[in-house]
Symmetry: C2
Subunit: 353 residues, 2 copies
Amino acid sequence: MSKFWSPLTASLVPYVPGEQPKDKTYIKLNTNENPYPPSPKVIDAIKAAANADLRLYPDPTCEGLIQAAAAYYGLPAQQVFAGNGSDEILAFAFAAFFDPAKKLLFPDITYSFYKVYAKLYGLQTELIPLDEQFNVQVDRFHSDNGGVIIPNPNAPTAQLLPLDEIRALLENNPNQAVVIDEAYIDFGGESAVQLISEYPNLLVVQTLSKSRSLAGLRVGFAFGSEELIEGLNRIKNSFNSYTLDRLALAGAVASFEDEAYFRETTAKVIATRERVTEQVISLGFKATESKANFVFISHPSIAAKGIFQQLRDRGVLVRYFDQPRINEYLRVSIGTDEEMDALIAALREIAGS
Amino acid sequence: MSKFWSPLTASLVPYVPGEQPKDKTYIKLNTNENPYPPSPKVIDAIKAAANADLRLYPDPTCEGLIQAAAAYYGLPAQQVFAGNGSDEILAFAFAAFFDPAKKLLFPDITYSFYKVYAKLYGLQTELIPLDEQFNVQVDRFHSDNGGVIIPNPNAPTAQLLPLDEIRALLENNPNQAVVIDEAYIDFGGESAVQLISEYPNLLVVQTLSKSRSLAGLRVGFAFGSEELIEGLNRIKNSFNSYTLDRLALAGAVASFEDEAYFRETTAKVIATRERVTEQVISLGFKATESKANFVFISHPSIAAKGIFQQLRDRGVLVRYFDQPRINEYLRVSIGTDEEMDALIAALREIAGS
């Protein structure tokens, strides 16, 4: 505490990102990074943009990038927003759309940043429990709320909500914004972007961090009706006019120009995920049905926290959440096949089978 | 307006950045960019960082960059914060330190983003008038306030407040944060960073955009006591863990490794500024005493708005602020000598001398 802090600052409980240890080299399966490098076209575009023009401000409207993302989904540019990672866009969305006078609804088990944003913007929250199988119970998102946010697939459970259930959620909540956080959608889900023309209250948030292998570049998008995009721009332009630097803009545009590479690398991640899921089950673990670039696993007789530590001792980092309902689970990012072979070998030793 | 906007969103009056016209090529003297490219070492470092590691998140603590900035000023790393441009850091500082129950004080003529941030965070404000010569009147910043922010040099007036007046301001306001926004300090001012060890309430904000020629990279810093830096980190980590991408981090570190280039280019800008100031005065203009990379000029008989438009017609962009007290002034960024020769030639035609 400091007497120079605002009351807000004193009240916050900041987010803690997955650890980035520097003590030794780990097999890093703890922050859902893509094991494959970004497209060579992205690297080339960034190198080309590393020039004297860095003395100039970037385009504050991100026009070229927004056009590229709009073309990818066949949307008009007015329905697209770009930001400094999807985390920044989520922060803007919490401020732009959620009504502090009512409760914001999100699943009890979900991306742990949501409750942090809610504190930052003074929002009341109501956690809607997942069912016993970790499914989002859409019918429990009653309409008397100040907004709804759901990741799809959900994190850390990895499970996908079918589009007809998203549609049901939107039908039940026509008077407030519904945000679908699709950070992991490219690993087997169907995007709700196709519903935007029907539902002016739907905001879909995506990122280049996972499926485009660009966590280090910090670029995310939101797609929605013009009025929602204008709302995001009002917050952004009251916060920072230039959120994306020239290099991020150049690299992000190029990432949309290499569809073949994107298809190839996401297919590899999916294939590895399916293989790893089978293997961990054969070792006695249970696993949720993942449509993301990670698996969510639990052993019936060995404590997750112990497995986490034993993996760490063997040089494999995964993510453990010490919170109710999921404290017997581990979230394991999908790495290369070699990395996952090392994981499986370590789990085989730990599980003693 | 949209029914999906929060009350906050509806209340905002967003900032409007200087225009970035795309209709033709202008001599661009309207956004205080540096006319010289960044150091070649910066370009090389960015190209080297454009590699497969972009698949990985950047270091959320910005450790290497913070160490470089700390070493530059001889501070411990715990007294340094890095952000996505100084605009983002200012936004964080408004949330972190200023007390909504009392009035935030800043000059009546100043960086126009301050009132936008204040709206975003629900802060009351009191504008303290500059005197007739546009000097900040330090003794009018009475101590019954929720915080103080002053740019030094001030913008758009370009005038510098001497360090002993900053010290007087700090002595008069020991119980709340005092933010000194030093975006332009390297063009002839003395930084208040040297006062940090004496005043735990002093936050100094700087940027690589101007004197390091990196407006396109989006990197800023704050320097202050550990408790102030912790306050900024609490807000940041409730907003976005990874505000600086890998390329910005790499380029920014390199910018501190080329002190000779920095000295040379800032000296050139200063020399051009001094020469241009003399020339505009000889054309009948008056000019404030600038310690920034721009001049603030006015003609006794020709309306500033007309000069602005006539310069634009001649392909020269400058900044005009249609607001009380300064609506007969133009803010003109310092470009290359060739660009400023073109400006002077155009002003000579317009002033008819």
